[in-house]
Amino acid sequence: MKDKPVYSEFHPRWYRPRMSTYWWVKRWSHLAFILRELSSLFIVWFVVYLLLMVRAVFGTNRYQEFFEWSAKPVILVVNFVSLAFVLFHAITWFNLAPKAMVVRLGGKRVPGSWIGASNYLAWAVVSALIAVLLLGA
């Protein structure tokens, strides 16, 4: 061994299969996942809509305009689709809650169905509160 060994920089390339951009259309469960995540866009639309409405309520003469605008067929369709996606988000979210939250009471684990039920109950209570607040005029 008279010289220092010379190491080459060769190493085998890692095998990485190329993922197609459309991997998610091949299976219904993948498609459902992407649709669920896309519901986030409609949540953002609702925030925009809400802020537009708040602006209209506090502006002079804008309130009537806002209501007429919100009754346009295009806006109604967008809101209808948004509602469908938002409901999809809410239901899938509440159904995941028992799996994500582990609550222990007195050493024993609270059954998942209770956590799910309490989430849905909270949803019903909040919705009722909103309805009473707005319809009780």
Binding site: S40, F46, Y63, A71, L134
Partner: protein, 106 residues
């Protein structure tokens, strides 16, 4: 935490609010509250605080999720920085706008 909080608040509040303000009132399915009534409800500090919290957390929840949908769905990792900037930047802009509107209300 911000992400999951946004998801919870969005799931709890948005369905009813969107149904009422997006469909029921414009379509006349249910009697719409008068301008005066809305003014009173929206001016209340608690309403403003809750709605602002809802807007902020929902915007960040949406931004985060949308960013990952683009990342995972369309496999465009090389545009990661631009997408992050647009998503979170948009959420920040929305938060500032919401804050301004709710601060000035009432």
């Amino acid at each position: 935490m911000l992400f999951s909080g946004g998801g919870v608040l969005a799931a709890l509040f948005i369905p009813m609010l969107l149904f009422l303000f997006g469909l029921a009132f414009p379509l006349g399915l249910l009697p719409a509250p008068s301008h005066q009534h809305l003014l009173v409800v929206l001016s209340h500090p608690l309403t403003r605080a809750v709605l602002f919290l809802l807007c902020t957390t929902a915007l960040f929840h949406g931004a985060h999720r949308f960013r990952y949908t683009l990342y995972d769905g369309l496999q465009i990792k090389h545009l990661n920085e631009l997408i992050s900037l647009l998503c979170y930047g948009g959420a920040i802009v929305g938060t500032v706008v919401a804050g301004y509107l709710f601060w000035r209300a009432g």
